[in-house]
C-alpha cells in the first residue's frame, strides 16, 4: 500500500467539534444504565465471600417466595459451552460447583424493584466448603501451593513449581551466552507489579430482553458488541442472528469492557421471567468481579558495554491473570525488549493461576509491567556507567530493519525520532529543585488491525452517513467522519457517523488494540473510494463518456483530461440528486481483515519531588512524546497520550489490588483503590510525532495504548534517583519508599 504522505490534508489534522459532544455535555447521551424497557425488572447478583470454596448447596426457595421476585438464576441454569474459552467466561460470570475468588457470582435475582432484588439475595442460602486459597503470584507458582485447577497445568512444569502454571511462552534470538560475555556490566534485578483495575467510571450495565419466540435484544456498555453477541449466543445456546446487541455510549473501558459479566445473567433472568431485565453493577462489584490486569513478578538481566551498548537481555515474567488461564504475559514477553536492537535476547513468560477475578485487557496488556522491568535496569546501568540515560536509549533504539525481540523485522518506525524529540525538548534540560529528580522510559505497543465492516451511504442531498460497528470511547465518530470527509472532499459537517448494532452491519472486532482509527479509518477510506467509483460511473453515464475517463477531486467528478470531454465538475450533491435516475441509491462499503497496523513507540519524561521525611511523591512535570503516524484529530490524540500517561502514573504510585490473608479484596472502592485525582497532577505536555505508517492510506498508527507503557518506569526511575535507592515493587507507595530508604541506610 502506498501512503499518501505528501497529501495536502484538508480535514485530517484539524480539530472540529465531536459530533456526540452536545449529547455528552447535556446529559442526554445514553450509557449502559440509562435505558429502560416496559415491564422492566431489576437484576442483582449474589457473590461469594470466599476466595476458594466448593458450593455444597444453594437454596433459593425463600427468595422466590418474596413478593416481587420474578426469577432466580444459578449456575445450574447454564449449559456447558463447547469452547473452553467460552466455558471459562461463563464460569466467571456464574459459578457452577466451585467459587474461585472473593466476589465470584453464585446466584442472581430479578425483581420488580432494585430494593426487592437486594432483599431477595439475602434469602438465598448457600453452603460452602472452604478450600485453601492463594492470591500471590509467586506463592501460587511455588511447589506446594494450593492448586486452583489441576487439569489446566502447562504440559511441562519446571522443577519446584506448582500445577497453577498454565501458560508458557518464549521469544528471542541470538546467543545470550556470547552476548553476556561481551558485556562490561551485567545487572540482574527482580521486580513486582500489583494488579490494577481499568477504573472506568461507568460501572458495567445492561438491559436484556429475551422473547418467548427465542429472539433477544441486549443493550450494554461494551467495547465490542459483536464479541458480546458471540459469547452470549454460545452461552445461551442461541443462533447469533437471534441475538441483537446494541452498544450504548460507553463510560470508559480501557480494555476492561472487552468481556462480559452480567450480560448472560441478565439474558437468563429475562428468559426465565419473560420480562426485560436491567442489571447495573455496583462499584464494589466492578472491583471484585470484573477483570483487573495481571499481577506480576519478573527477573530482568541485561549486559552492556561501558559505552552503553546492550549486548544481551533476558527477562522471565511470572504473571497471574486470576483463576483462569491467561495469555497476557505473552504480550509482555514480546514487548519487554521491543524498543531495542538486541544482538541477543530471550524472554520467557509464565501464567499462574491465583484466586482472583479473571483478568481482562487493560491498555497495552502485558507491556507496561514487562517494560517497567527492562527500563528500570537500563536506567540503573546508565547510572552505574555514568551515562546519559537518554543517549543510552538512542544508542540501542530499534529502527527500520531491526530484527525485533519478538520476531518480525521492523519497517518504518518512529522510536529514534521520538527519542531525539525528547532529547531536544526544553523539559529534558530544565533545572530541578531540591528533592526532585527526573526519570524517563520508552514504551511500545504492537497495535491491532482486524476485522472491520463499514458502510457509507450517499444521501439524496449529497451528505453522507457512515455506519460502523465500533463503540466510540474517545472521539472515534469524529476521526472516522473526518477521514470520510477527507477522502470524499466534502466538509466534515456533511458527514454523520453512527455505531450500528450487530444486526445492522457486518462483523467488527472489538474496540481494542488501538485498532479503531487505523482499521475502521482504513475501511472507511476504502468505502469512500467505493462510493467515489460509483459516483464517477454515474457522472460518466450522465456525460455519456467512458467511466475510466472520470476522476474525483474536491468532492466532485470531473473528466480526467481534455480528451475525456468538456464538462464542468459534477459535485457529489448533483450526482446524489440524480441518483434515482441513474441507477438508484449510491453507497460504498468495505469489509477487511486489516493488516499493517504499524507499531507505536513513545518516550516519557517525568519529574518528581519526594518529601524526604514522609516519602510523599508529587509529579512536578510530565512530557509525553509519541509517534501517531498521522494525527487525525490532534486534540483526541493528545487526549489519549495524556490519559494513558496518567493511568500509568497511578499504577506507578498508588493503584493496587490489596488482598488480605483471608483471600478477600480489601479495597473494592474508589476510596482505597486510589486513582489519580485532578490535584495530584501537573499539565501533561503531549508532543505528537508523525512518522507515517506505510500500512494506512494516510499513515495513521493507533495511539491509544502506548501512553500507559512508559510511566511505570519513568516515575520509578525518577523516584529512585530522588531517594537514592532503586524502587522495584509497584506501586511505589510511601511506606515502601520509607522502608527501602531504611534498608539502604538512607
Amino acid at each position: 500500500m502506498t501512503t499518501d504522505t505528501k497529501r495536502n490534508f484538508k480535514v485530517v489534522g484539524t480539530r472540529p467539534n465531536r459530533p456526540d459532544g452536545v449529547d455528552k455535555v447535556t446529559g442526554r447521551a445514553m450509557y449502559g444504565a440509562d435505558a429502560t424497557a416496559p415491564g422492566m425488572l431489576w437484576g442483582k447478583v449474589l457473590r461469594s465471600p470466599h476466595p476458594h470454596a466448593e458450593i455444597v448447596s444453594i437454596d433459593t426457595s425463600e427468595a422466590m417466595k418474596l413478593p416481587g421476585v420474578q426469577a432466580v438464576v444459578t449456575g445450574a441454569d447454564f449449559g456447558d459451552p463447547e469452547s473452553l474459552f467460552v466455558s471459562d467466561v461463563q464460569e466467571h460470570c456464574m459459578a457452577k460447583d466451585r467459587v474461585y475468588y472473593d466476589g465470584h457470582a453464585v446466584a442472581a435475582v430479578a425483581a420488580t424493584s432494585a430494593s426487592t432484588a437486594a432483599k431477595a439475595l439475602k434469602l438465598i442460602k448457600i453452603v460452602y466448603k472452604p478450600l485453601p486459597h492463594v492470591t500471590d503470584v509467586d506463592a501460587a507458582f511455588a511447589h506446594g501451593a494450593p492448586v486452583i485447577m489441576h487439569h489446566r497445568a502447562f504440559e511441562i512444569l519446571p522443577p519446584g513449581t506448582s500445577a497453577n502454571a498454565t501458560n508458557f511462552c518464549e521469544f528471542g534470538h541470538g546467543d545470550l551466552h556470547e552476548g553476556f560475555a561481551k558485556a562490561d556490566l551485567i545487572v540482574e534485578r527482580s521486580f513486582r507489579t500489583a494488579a490494577t483495575h481499568q477504573g472506568y467510571i461507568e460501572p458495567n450495565a445492561c438491559l436484556a430482553s429475551y422473547s418467548s419466540d427465542g429472539r433477544a435484544d441486549l443493550w450494554c456498555c461494551t467495547q465490542g458488541h459483536y464479541h458480546v453477541r458471540d459469547l452470549c449466543a454460545q452461552i445461551m445456546g442461541m443462533e447469533a442472528a437471534q441475538l441483537r446487541v446494541t452498544a450504548s455510549e460507553i463510560g470508559g473501558g480501557f480494555g476492561g469492557k472487552t468481556s462480559i459479566y452480567v450480560e448472560p445473567v441478565a439474558l437468563m433472568l429475562s428468559k426465565k421471567s419473560g420480562r426485560p431485565v436491567k442489571m447495573v453493577m455496583s462499584r464494589e462489584e466492578v472491583f471484585r468481579a470484573t477483570g483487573p490486569t495481571i499481577s506480576s513478578s519478573m527477573d530482568v538481566k541485561i549486559g552492556m558495554t561501558k559505552d552503553g551498548r546492550m549486548t544481551a537481555g533476558q527477562a522471565v515474567i511470572r504473571a497471574s491473570g486470576g483463576a483462569w488461564p491467561s495469555g497476557t504475559m505473552e504480550m509482555g514477553a514480546q514487548a519487554a525488549f521491543a524498543c531495542y536492537d538486541m544482538p541477543a535476547v530471550k524472554t520467557i513468560g509464565w501464567n499462574v493461576l491465583t484466586n482472583r477475578p479473571k483478568e481482562s485487557a487493560y491498555r497495552a496488556p502485558g507491556a507496561p509491567t514487562a517494560i517497567f522491568g527492562v527500563e528500570s535496569v537500563i536506567d540503573e546501568m546508565s547510572q552505574k556507567l555514568g551515562l546519559d540515560p537518554l543517549e543510552v536509549r538512542i544508542l540501542n533504539a530499534a529502527d527500520a530493519g531491526t530484527l525485533s525481540s519478538y520476531g518480525p523485522t521492523f519497517n518504518q518506525i518512529g522510536l529514534k525520532a521520538t527519542l531525539e524529540a525528547a532529547k531536544n525538548h526544553p523539559h529534558y534540560k530544565a533545572p530541578l529543585g531540591p528533592n526532585q529528580a527526573r526519570g524517563l522510559s520508552c514504551g511500545f505497543w504492537f497495535n491491532f488491525g482486524g476485522n472491520t465492516s463499514v458502510s457509507l451511504a450517499v444521501n439524496t442531498d449529497g451528505t453522507v452517513n457512515i455506519t460502523e460497528g465500533n463503540p466510540d470511547i474517545g472521539g472515534s465518530r469524529a476521526s472516522i467522519g473526518m477521514m470520510a470527509a477527507e477522502e470524499l472532499g466534502i466538509p466534515f459537517a456533511d458527514v454523520r457517523t453512527i455505531i450500528g448494532d450487530t444486526a445492522s452491519i457486518g462483523h467488527n472486532d472489538t474496540t481494542d488494540g488501538s485498532r479503531v482509527t487505523f482499521a475502521v479509518g482504513l475501511a472507511t477510506i476504502r468505502a469512500a473510494r467505493d462510493a467515489i467509483q460509483k459516483m464517477c460511473h454515474r457522472a460518466a453515464q450522465i456525460w455519456d463518456i467512458d467511466p475510466d475517463a472520470v476522476e474525483w477531486e474536491d468532492g466532485a467528478a470531473k473528466p480526467s483530461g481534455p480528451n475525456a470531454g468538456q464538462f464542468p465538475p459534477m459535485t457529489i450533491k448533483e450526482i446524489a440528486a440524480n441518483a434515482f435516475r441513474t441507477g438508484g441509491p449510491i453507497a460504498g462499503h468495505h469489509e477487511v481483515n486489516a493488516d499493517g497496523a504499524g507499531v507505536s513507540f513513545g518516550v516519557h519524561i517525568a519529574d518528581v519531588e519526594v518529601d524526604p521525611e514522609t516519602a510523599h511523591t508529587l509529579i512536578k512535570r510530565y512530557t509525553v512524546f509519541q509517534d501517531a503516524g498521522k494525527a487525525v484529530h490532534p486534540s483526541y490524540v493528545e487526549g489519549q497520550m495524556q490519559g494513558g500517561a496518567v493511568q500509568g502514573i497511578g499504577w506507578a504510585l498508588n493503584e493496587e489490588y490489596i488482598y488480605g490473608a483471608d483471600g478477600r479484596l480489601q479495597n473494592a472502592g474508589f476510596l482505597d483503590y486510589r486513582i489519580p485525582v485532578a490535584s495530584d497532577l501537573p499539565m501533561i505536555d503531549a508532543v505528537i510525532l508523525e512518522i507515517p505508517n506505510p500500512g494506512h492510506p494516510y499513515g495513521v498508527r493507533g495511539v491509544g495504548e502506548t501512553g500507559i507503557v512508559p510511566p511505570l518506569a519513568a516515575v520509578a526511575n525518577a523516584v529512585t534517583r530522588a531517594v537514592g535507592t532503586r524502587m522495584t515493587d509497584l506501586p511505589i507507595s510511601p511506606p515502601k519508599i520509607m522502608a527501602a530508604k531504611a534498608a539502604a541506610g538512607k
Binding site: G251, Y636, G669, S679
Partner: protein
C-alpha cells in the same frame, strides 16, 4: 408507610415524587424523574459523577436522600443549558476536547459551574482541588482544567 411523598423544585420546575425512605436523590432523579444525566459511578461520594446542587450547594446526589429534597431547589446537568444555548462551560468542554467517554462530564460540569459562581477567576490549582472529587479516567484532567479556564475567561468577558 413504605414511601414518602416529596415536593421539590428540579431545574426550576416544581416537581413531586414518591420514593422509598432510604432511596437516594440520585436514584430518584434517574429512576423516578427520568433525569439520567446524573451518573452513578460509585455511590460512596468518591467519584462525583452524580454531582448536583441542592439549594445552591454542590453535593453528591448519591449522598442525599430523596426525602431530604423536600422544599429544596435541585439543579442537575439537564438544567445547565439555557434551552438550545449551551452554557459556556458546556461549549468549552466540546471545543477543548475535555471529554473522551463523557461519563464523568455531567458531574464535572455541574461542579465547575459551582466553582465559577464562587470564584470567577480561579487558579489552575484551585480548579484542580475543587474538582478533586470528580474522577476522570480518560483525560488525565489536562484538557478539563484548560476548558474550565477558557469558560471562566469567556464568562468574565475576557
Amino acid at each position: 408507610m413504605s414511601t414518602i411523598h416529596v415536593s421539590t423544585t428540579i431545574n426550576g420546575a416544581p416537581t413531586d415524587f414518591v420514593c422509598e425512605h432510604d432511596e437516594t436523590l440520585l436514584d430518584v432523579l434517574r429512576n423516578r424523574i427520568g433525569l439520567t444525566g446524573s451518573k452513578e459511578g460509585c455511590s460512596s461520594g468518591d467519584c462525583g459523577a452524580c454531582s448536583v446542587t441542592v439549594n445552591g450547594r454542590l453535593v453528591c446526589s448519591c449522598l442525599v436522600l430523596g426525602a431530604e429534597a423536600q422544599d429544596a431547589e435541585v439543579h442537575t446537568i439537564e438544567g445547565m443549558a439555557d434551552g438550545p444555548t449551551l452554557h459556556p462551560l458546556q461549549k468549552a468542554f466540546i471545543e477543548h476536547a475535555a471529554l473522551q467517554c463523557g461519563f464523568c462530564t455531567p458531574g464535572i460540569l455541574v461542579a465547575a459551574e459551582a466553582l465559577l459562581k464562587e470564584k470567577p477567576e480561579p487558579t489552575d490549582e484551585e480548579v484542580r482541588y475543587w474538582l478533586a472529587g470528580n474522577l476522570c479516567r480518560c483525560t488525565g484532567y489536562d484538557k478539563i482544567v484548560r476548558a474550565v479556564q477558557a469558560a471562566a475567561a469567556e464568562m468574565r468577558g475576557v
